[in-house]
Symmetry: C3
Subunit: 139 residues, 3 copies
């Protein structure tokens, strides 16, 4: 039985950014020698997301524009009475979700052709951590 | 320790459709002889969803109308510059999520009275695959 | 290998309410003596959510106001033809999600500084159940 945990640190130059981290997930699977089970990928911050979607720059723009429409940045949030200015990031991250379970079968990430694991940042420009836990059976 | 994986292929006659797949989840649990653990149910396509909600046709209509309001089909998506026309499906699928972990306790799916596992299709009329991985302890 | 399941019953005095249940998750982890793995936290009702976000009352108000904007209570739902009046709760719960996998590393919940596990109720005033399943390796 394998339980192997790593922490990835991501610092985006932009406040809002999407990044494909699938290669990191595969790297952790390989390091753990995981053959059957899954890799849990979970952001440890409440203003960012982990989600699965297409690696396509146009779609990433669509996603960011859409999130801004449904959960706009602005001043009218009670959360901002604490001195914060990122309430929109707390909401945006919930639309995409904060964790993904990547299945592992026969020593490979068991993803569909277009499935890629993404990190979505909505309050960047500072180091954020992502937990990756490989769990299951060795080869 | 059990790790048993199956792939379900779904081809909906309609572009948009909701389907209850709970019986398939139970079938995979039974085939795997899984007594304690969970079944991961995860769509392998980025234009469909797996979610848990009520098996009620009126609610399914409400869900589809609601998704169309929040993530409408249309032309104004950058993703469509690639030749695709399904950007709305990529967004809709994120509102409902793409995977569910069904707990298994004492040899049964451990779901509440009204919890049913659903497949949500937003770009159908062609074969789509769903991964079902039973993971845990045998009876 | 540990697979330990408990059921938490929550009855909120209000119809809509957010509650921090992280201490319950840690209690279950401790009872199970789980050292490595995760605790699955999953609501067994289709009108409530489990989600991870900040424990901050202003943000909780923002979340509730935002959910009401995106998935408003009202009469115009087909689901209400069944006699129900809670279609908005079915939709709201999908925006936040219905389950969370809390990673456990070295005998502790492996959460970021501000990550807290919350129960979101959208049709309360009656007993609701939450499943907590600790799964993994003992110390």
């Amino acid at each position: 039985m394998i339980s192997h945990t790593e922490y990835l640190t991501i610092t985006t130059p932009e406040r809002y950014e999407i990044r494909d981290i699938t290669d990191e997930v595969e790297r952790v699977r390989r390091t753990a020698k995981l053959n059957e089970g899954f890799v849990l990928v979970s952001t440890m911050h409440i203003t960012s997301s982990i989600f699965v979607n297409d690696h396509e720059a146009g779609l990433w723009d669509d996603i960011m524009a859409w999130l801004e429409k449904l959960a706009p940045a602005g001043k009218d949030y009670r959360h901002h009475l604490t001195g914060e200015d990122n309430a929109d990031a707390h909401l945006k991250r919930m639309l995409l979700g904060h964790q993904v379970l990547v299945p592992v079968t026969n020593g490979s990430l068991d993803l569909g052709t277009w499935e890629r694991v993404h990190y979505g940042e909505f309050d960047g420009r500072r180091p954020k951590r992502v937990l990756l836990k490989a769990f299951g059976l060795p080869s």
